[in-house]
């Protein structure tokens, strides 16, 4: 089975983010980056499928030069090949523009399965995978926790709201977007890191792929959210703050 995993590099979860001059995006200087968590689960699911059924796992990511770091990380964890779509102005594209870029790179590979995370931790659009399925003409399902290969295709476990789940069967090729937490992520071994150095990591420029579409949506401005409530911050030592909080919960909020 040939599996393509589309992964994204996002600001590290704990990184402090500042709005850049101009107010259109965050200041990317000195930012720490990481692989988008649901994408890491998509990669893990792909590696487990390969271990069971054989085949090849190809990781693809779009973005500037820094993106190569997560592709190398994926290769160290066990992916066989990497494909870096080099683009310095990905932010100027909307989700359709990004999906078309990914589709142009993925199509010639003729994969059996395309996996990605259900949404990114930065833009949080949660739709690049679904659009990619539509552009590639593949059946899809979202919020997947587990994938099982069957004779006819795949059987997947999909998360529904409020603690419910559902099994869905579909033929291959197909596209699935993975939810976090369905599998346990692996760390790259020393051997893996060494081996990754000789693995094929190809670059292709966005211009070479030749898919330029005018965006339908534009992100005009970013801003700090307005507070929905006025929060009383209780200062002092942990003991002082705790005592003050208990007092407030008793006399002001009347919940104790």
């Amino acid at each position: 089975m040939k599996i393509i995993v589309a992964i994204k590099q996002v600001p590290n979860r704990d990184a402090a983010v500042r709005i850049a001059a101009g107010g259109k995006w965050i200041d990317e200087n000195d930012l720490e980056w990481a692989i988008n968590e649901p994408d890491a689960h998509a990669l893990e699911e792909a590696l487990q499928l390969k271990e069971k059924h054989g085949g090849e796992v190809v990781v693809v990511s779009a973005g500037p030069e820094r993106v190569a770091a997560i592709l190398r990380e994926a290769l160290a964890q066990g992916a066989d090949r990497g494909l870096h779509i080099v683009s310095n102005d990905l932010g100027a594209r909307d989700a359709l523009g990004v999906a078309m870029l990914l589709a142009a790179a993925i199509q010639p590979e003729n994969p059996d399965l395309v996996l990605t995370g259900l949404q990114s931790e930065d833009l949080g659009l949660g739709q690049t995978g679904v659009i990619l399925a539509e552009v590639l003409g593949l059946p899809h399902s979202t919020l997947i926790l587990h994938i099982e290969k069957t004779n006819a295709g795949v059987k997947v476990k999909r998360e529904l709201e409020e603690g419910w789940f559902q099994s869905i069967e579909m033929p291959l090729p197909a596209l699935l977007t993975l939810q976090s937490g369905g599998n346990k992520l692996r760390y790259a071994t020393l051997m893996g890191i060494k081996g990754a150095k000789t693995k094929d990591l190809r670059t292709v420029s966005a211009a070479e792929l030749g898919v330029d579409v005018a965006p339908v949506l534009t992100l005009e401005q970013i801003s700090a959210p307005k507070k929905q409530k006025s929060t009383q911050i209780l200062a002092g030592s942990p003991k002082e703050a705790a005592t003050a909080l208990v007092e407030k919960l008793k006399t002001e909020a009347r919940v104790l």
Partner: protein, 323 residues
């Protein structure tokens, strides 16, 4: 020009997030231009319920192949309907798991991109949605011609505001039968199931102490459990804690877990990603303990302590016991 509003069913009735989406739709178009859609194999009762609200018309998008839900069935049926009904300016959805599964594909078929998980609509119009797990807001604008697809975050618009609209009488109801073939539906969905029997009822808890990533490891959980016990509260968690198997899934609060509204909700080491906030922001009193003063959880908290939970939580347990 019209506005299509997609309504969803829950337990035989139109779901609450659907009515919140109607409240958002009223920001975009006058009620008479709103066409409410009910989709499925049997939609008569839902259509009758929708017709009592402030909408111009209700359309039953009905076909035996539209139950159970499939992305292929819903995208194809709605695509046909939108093309059939003349110029459309807006297509509005509640931002549910189901909508997330097909609306981006539907929009793509029409050369459009869904503006998903919208929390606010400002003039002209500009759509507000959250970025970086709720740490920032983004203002989005739709360009060019063609319908604009918008899905609305649960809890962002108030369904009770709809009561202000008075209806002269029930809206007219039409039926639209899409052309569907079983070969167009490529996925075969099974019946929804739950994993295990429920042993706690977070929904009816008066007080909840909830723990997140900040707790670092399962070995530290007794710290929080002791506070919950002192407060006579149920112990709950954000998603990563249950993903790691540190607490059972039935104790998870958020969009993929339970929605709770206790009198007191204490969030410990929880940054407050939107998936968590939607499950607890209706709580009467919210307390947040977090080391990051910019964590989004403080945006919904009534009281906050900025500090190391490993120092604050034991101090709080002592203070509760002493009080």
């Amino acid at each position: 020009m019209s506005l299509f509003l997609v309504l969803e069913e829950s337990g035989g009735k139109i779901s609450r997030p659907s009515w919140e989406a109607l409240a958002a739709a009223h920001r975009l178009a006058p009620a008479r231009e709103i066409v409410a859609l009910v989709i499925g194999a049997e939609t008569e009762a839902l259509a009758a319920e929708a017709a009592t609200k402030s909408v111009g018309k209700v359309v039953r998008v009905e076909h035996t192949l539209l139950a159970p839900y499939t992305a292929d069935g819903f995208s194809t049926a709605l695509h046909q309907l939108i093309q059939n009904q003349g110029p459309t300016q807006w297509v509005v959805f509640p931002h549910t798991y189901q909508v997330r599964d097909y609306a981006p594909a539907l929009a793509c078929r029409m050369g459009q991109v869904l503006i998903g998980d919208v929390t606010g609509i400002e003039d002209s119009p500009v759509f507000i949605r959250q970025l970086l797990q709720g740490r920032l807001n983004g203002s989005y604008r739709h360009r060019g011609d063609g319908p604009c697809f918008v899905s609305v975050q649960a809890g962002a618009f108030r369904a009770d505001a709809l009561d202000a609209f008075t209806n002269p009488g029930p809206a007219p109801i039409e039926v639209f039968t899409p052309t569907l073939d079983s070969a167009q539906i490529r996925t075969r969905p099974g019946k929804p199931f739950r994993e295990s029997a429920q042993t706690v009822d977070l929904g009816s808890a008066e007080r909840i102490v909830s723990v997140g990533r900040g707790i670092k490891s399962a070995e530290n959980l007794p710290l929080v459990a002791a506070l919950a016990q002192a407060l006579d509260a149920e112990l709950a968690a954000s998603r990563p804690i249950c993903d790691n198997g540190w607490l059972p899934l039935e104790r998870q609060v958020g969009s993929s877990g339970h929605t709770v509204a206790p009198r007191l909700y204490l969030a410990i080491g929880i940054s407050g990603a939107i998936q968590h906030l939607v499950g607890m922001k209706g709580s009467a009193c919210i307390v947040a303990i977090n080391k990051d003063p910019d964590a989004p959880i403080f945006e919904v908290a009534d009281y906050g302590i900025v500090g190391d939970l490993f120092e604050v939580v034991p101090a709080l347990t002592e203070a509760v016991k002493a009080g």
